[in-house]
């Protein structure tokens, strides 16, 4: 290019470069603009992490949806600022001595947004919804500890309505085969197992609220159409002329409604022969058993046959009972010390039957939603924002510090951070700050913070492909975790332990005493119940090049010709950190062990499918817990039959240790056993833990009481904005 002609090009290039270089981050105490909130002191604008997939507590599962769901729907307990359960609809709860029965006592002040009182029956209805097969909820697994929950969800656990042969009315049975064909055979043939709940009417069926006039029906089922009985009113074992059936009509979006049982006159599978097995008494709901009975081995129970007319999969088989309108009792198959941690979860937040029945899939639209929480849904602009306003019917209005919450759906990290920078939102959902910003923000701006998070980042080893434990141990010993936060730049906590938690060095003195460790102990610990219970995971196989090489030599000797010449590390695309870690591991394993490592990147769903099917060697993975409990949330992924056991690691010693823990009622003694199980697992190295996740948060200085905790659950409505924050800045908040 001649100088004159090149001038514009060069000028443009220089301008771009200058802008790129010069537009660094601004000075000041806070990151970006701090807008004046004097004109809207009771309106919180949160940059949420994207568009929620829905707002129905029974079916949603993303953390994005939770931000709205937990404001819209109240629970027996709810999250406090520390993310632990706190009384809400329930005022108190009792746990039975065998840790299998949990009784929640509710107050009568709870109201739905349509004015109806919230009762224990609403809680029970939610359990039924989550577990009922026609709801097809991805959350059903969360209620698996409840008696018969998994069987009910699979359509296998049923109730005998009439005395029939060897079965008594009220017996819980498990379906083994129908008309001589096993359930698996039915499924394999692509057929639906004949459902003894299906009924028809010879006249049109009017689906409506119980007792409402036929004219008020919100659905007319034409004669001859199948409906599915979900539950019966009154005593299901003794239906009479006044009994109503709550049925599901699979039509369009589906429709639920009550119909007098007498109106249903045809059961298509009345005559089908069901081959069933009686369930053990410990799975029978409503019966108190002694610990001896509960732990007694199952007596052998011969399979018997029953007619379809005598069987029904009513929710009475489930471990949930409502002895009176304000008491709900849950029963679990095994001692479940962490059950309280489920009571604030979305799975147990009641949903309004009257709204769900009419529009099962769309009842959460703003014009039809019925809510119970501190906030009500006023508008939902898809992939733009959700507007919540203070609910006039919430039972505890004093706790609600805000009149309005706006949740912006911003799923791009840079966009969220930029929007915050420009003053568009008051706080950003955690982990929405691009990794590259973190090093520049940390310690520089007062509105940025990094906190630990209940998640573990790891490299999983497919143990069927690498059955040699020395090889696996070598891989773990060979990774120096310390540089991870340096190049990942997010303040991550390097760890070789599996169960995540808070670094011990950061614990308070009280917590150190509780955990029984000294401050210089390496590793992390998690406080499970404040002041009561602490879990310190066993140490992992941390960086030790000598031991790594020694283990590798052992592996080489044992494996001989089978010793792999190279291995493949797989990760999913889209997150730069995964790639950096892959490149780092590749480098480390080559450097320390002399192993050649290929990197393979896959699209997310392909990655999930392949890892699930065991089609990998070593892969990046992560696990985030809903509550800090190794036994309930983290270790089950290594149990033999678990769908999450991507490592395909099945170890009898580990199984025995986990089983042994289940029978221990004392929580501290139980934790000792759980720790032993984790030790067995980590020593066998099906997993190479790398770091504990952290959460990054941006909150404008005027935002107060927006909880920061390990599981990133905040009661948003308790936050408030301080218009005079500048005046209060140096002193304590008023």
């Amino acid at each position: 290019m001649t100088p004159r002609r090149a001038a514009p090009t060069v000028a443009a290039a220089v301008a771009v470069a200058a802008l790129a270089a010069g537009c660094g981050l601004p000075d000041g105490d806070y990151f970006g603009r701090v807008p004046d909130v004097r004109d809207r002191p009771r309106h919180l604008r949160l940059c949420n992490s994207g568009e929620p997939e829905g707002l129905d507590p029974a079916t949603v599962s993303s953390t994005t949806a939770m931000k709205a769901v937990y404001e819209l729907f109240d629970g027996l307990t709810t999250y406090d600022l520390a993310g632990l359960p706190e009384a809400s609809l329930a005022t108190r709860w009792d746990t039975s001595a065998d840790v299998r029965r949990f009784t929640f006592h509710m107050h009568d002040r709870g109201r739905w947004s349509n004015g109806r009182p919230i009762t224990a029956d609403d809680v029970r209805y939610q359990v039924i919804r989550v577990l009922h097969p026609s709801t097809a909820s991805v959350n059903a697994d969360g209620l698996a500890p409840l008696k018969n929950a998994a069987l009910y969800n699979a359509g296998a656990a049923r109730l005998v309505l009439r005395d029939t042969g060897a079965l008594r009315a009220g017996d819980v049975v498990e379906v083994l085969a129908v008309d001589g064909k096993t359930l698996d055979a039915w499924h394999a043939a692509g057929d639906r197992v004949p459902d003894s709940n299906l009924r028809r009417g010879s006249r049109p069926l009017a689906l409506r609220d119980r007792g409402a006039a036929v004219a008020d029906a919100y659905g007319q089922v034409p004669p001859g159409d199948d409906v599915q009985i979900v539950e019966l009113s009154g005593d299901p074992l003794r239906p009479d002329a006044d009994t109503w059936a709550y049925v599901y009509w699979n039509h369009g979006d589906g429709l639920y409604g009550w119909v007098p049982l007498a109106d249903l006159d045809v059961a298509p599978f009345d005559d089908a022969v069901y081959r069933v097995r009686r369930r053990a008494p410990r799975d029978t709901p409503g019966v108190d058993l002694s610990p001896a009975e509960l732990t007694a081995p199952d007596p052998p129970r011969p399979a018997v046959e029953a007619r379809g007319a005598d069987l029904m999969a009513l929710p009475e088989v489930l471990g949930v009972r409502v002895p009176d309108p304000y008491t709900v009792v849950f029963e679990t198959s095994n001692p479940t010390p962490w059950f309280l941690n489920l009571s604030d979860n979305r799975i147990l937040r009641p949903t309004p039957r009257e709204a769900v029945s009419r529009r099962p899939r769309r009842w959460t639209d703003p014009d039809t939603i019925v809510t119970s929480g501190p906030m009500h849904l006023t508008a939902w602009y898809q992939r733009d924002r959700i507007e919540l306003t203070r609910s006039p019917t919430y039972w505890d209005p004093d706790e609600v510090k805000l009149d309005r919450i706006t949740l912006y759906a911003i799923d791009d990290q840079s966009a969220a951070t930029n929007f915050y920078f420009a003053g568009g939102c008051d706080a950003v959902s955690s982990n929405q700050v691009p990794a590259s910003y973190i090093r520049a923000l940390e310690g520089r701006y007062k509105d940025f913070s990094i906190e630990p998070y209940l998640g573990i980042y790891m490299a999983l080893i497919q143990t069927e492909q690498f059955p040699n434990r020395h090889l696996r141990r070598a891989l773990s010993f060979a990774v120096d975790r310390r540089p991870l936060p340096t190049f990942l730049q997010g303040g991550q906590v390097p760890t070789a332990q599996f169960m995540p938690g808070t670094p011990i060095a950061r614990l308070s003195d009280d917590d150190l005493r509780l955990c029984g460790v000294t401050r210089d102990t390496p590793g992390v610990a998690s406080i499970m119940i404040s002041g009561e219970l602490c879990y310190v995971p066993p140490p992992g196989l941390d960086f030790d090049p000598e031991r790594a090489r020694a283990e590798l030599q052992l592996a080489r000797d044992e494996m001989g010709a089978d010793f792999p010449t190279h291995l493949v590390y797989r990760f999913n695309q889209g997150v730069e950190g995964h790639k950096l870690i892959g490149e780092y591991l590749q480098h480390q394993w080559k450097e320390i062990l002399g192993l050649d490592v290929d990197l393979e990147v896959q699209e997310w769903k392909t990655f999930l499918t392949d890892t699930k099917n065991g089609n990998y060697q070593v892969a990046r993975f992560a696990w985030v817990g809903n509550f800090p409990d190794a036994e309930g949330e983290f270790l089950p992924m290594f149990r033999c039959g678990s769908p999450n056991n991507r490592a395909r690691w099945c170890n009898p010693a580990f199984e025995a240790a986990m089983d042994a823990a289940q029978t221990i009622q004392d929580r501290k003694a139980r934790l000792v056993q759980v720790r032993e199980a984790e030790r067995i697992m980590i020593e066998d190295a099906p997993v190479i833990p790398l770091y504990v996740y952290v959460q990054t948060n941006l909150r404008k200085p005027y935002v107060r009481d927006l909880g920061l905790n390990l599981i990133d659950q905040q009661p948003l409505h308790r936050a408030w904005l301080d218009p005079d924050w500048r005046a209060h800045r140096d002193g304590a908040a008023p």
Partner: protein
């Protein structure tokens, strides 16, 4: 002309069928399903879910069902969101359309202006300057240009919002980013088209007849000189309106493009196929329009038809 249109519409139906079929089988061939997640669902639970969405049926049965629904213009329900596919298109398409049209306006007005200027002053400073400017648009990827513009105008100067759509001003940055990409190409095509046209005999005739230079360039030259641009406008408009998802992501515009890409990663089969058929229908219509405009602009083609 009517025969042309009827023929095209029939052809369009075939195209739609082909697109729907390819899309359906292609996405189903990709591993994973809409309900796979980091936390795996137990097989029994998955069975209920698959039954609920008819994913348990043989793929060909699903295809026939799907085709039947499409014929009735029922694109079904999203598997990941509560809306129907029709609702999703209706809600998100206008954002993409607005963004695309703003961008198109920017691209055409600036691109044609720069192109004509460059052709008119071929090989002079104005030519090189115009081409340099237009080249910036082509040579900087939108995922660099977007954040750069944000950095300058939203974060540095606080003139415009950095993300989200709220009012007209929030369209300026995304539409500029998107428009710049196409502006460069349009400017180049205009330039080469004009250069060619200005050498044609009839232009010389016009000049000889004493038509002013401005008239020659803008009235006589532009008409034929824009032919390559018109050819390009079909795909460009399609790209502007449908393919702007990187910009929709960067600026968090709730447009259809980004929903569409999300449906691929989510394996949201109904949304993917539905939106794809919608796009294909749109493109078919657009191509028809382009062909008609082409005929009107170029007498040589029109007369032979």
């Amino acid at each position: 002309m009517i025969r042309l249109i009827v023929g095209r519409v029939l052809m369009g139906v075939v195209v739609l069928w082909a697109v729907a079929t390819v899309a359906f089988f292609a996405l189903h061939a990709a591993p994973g399903g809409p309900f796979d997640d980091e936390r795996a669902v137990p097989p029994e639970v998955m069975r209920n879910i698959e039954e609920r969405y008819h994913l348990d049926q043989p793929i060909f049965t699903q295809y026939l069902h799907y085709l039947g629904d499409v014929v009735r213009l029922d694109f079904g329900h999203s598997m990941k969101r509560q809306q129907t596919v029709a609702e999703i298109i209706r809600h998100h398409a206008p954002y993409s359309a607005k963004l695309g049209l703003f961008a198109l306006a920017i691209a055409i007005s600036l691109g044609v202006l720069l192109g004509v200027l460059a052709a008119h002053r071929q090989n002079r400073l104005a030519d090189h300057a115009a081409m340099t400017v237009s080249l910036i648009g082509i040579s900087v990827p939108s995922f660099v240009m977007g954040p750069l513009l944000v950095m300058i105008f939203a974060l540095g100067l606080f003139w415009l919002p950095p993300a989200r759509i709220e009012g007209f001003t929030s369209y300026i940055l995304p539409a500029t980013t998107l428009g710049l990409i196409y502006m460069g190409t349009i400017a180049r095509l205009t330039r080469s088209g004009m250069l060619e046209t200005l050498r044609q005999d009839y232009i010389r005739t016009a000049r000889a007849k004493g038509v002013s230079e401005r008239g020659v360039v803008w009235r006589h030259g532009l008409r034929l000189g824009l032919l390559p641009v018109v050819t390009y406008l079909g795909p460009a408009t399609a790209g502007l309106i449908s393919g702007s998802f990187v910009i929709e992501k960067i600026f968090q515009v709730p447009g259809l493009g980004y929903s569409f890409v999300a449906s691929i990663t989510d394996r949201d089969y109904p949304v993917l196929t539905g939106v794809l058929v919608f796009y294909a229908a749109f493109l078919t219509a657009l191509n028809l329009v382009v062909d008609i405009v082409y005929g009107v602009l170029d007498p040589r083609i029109r007369d032979r038809r």
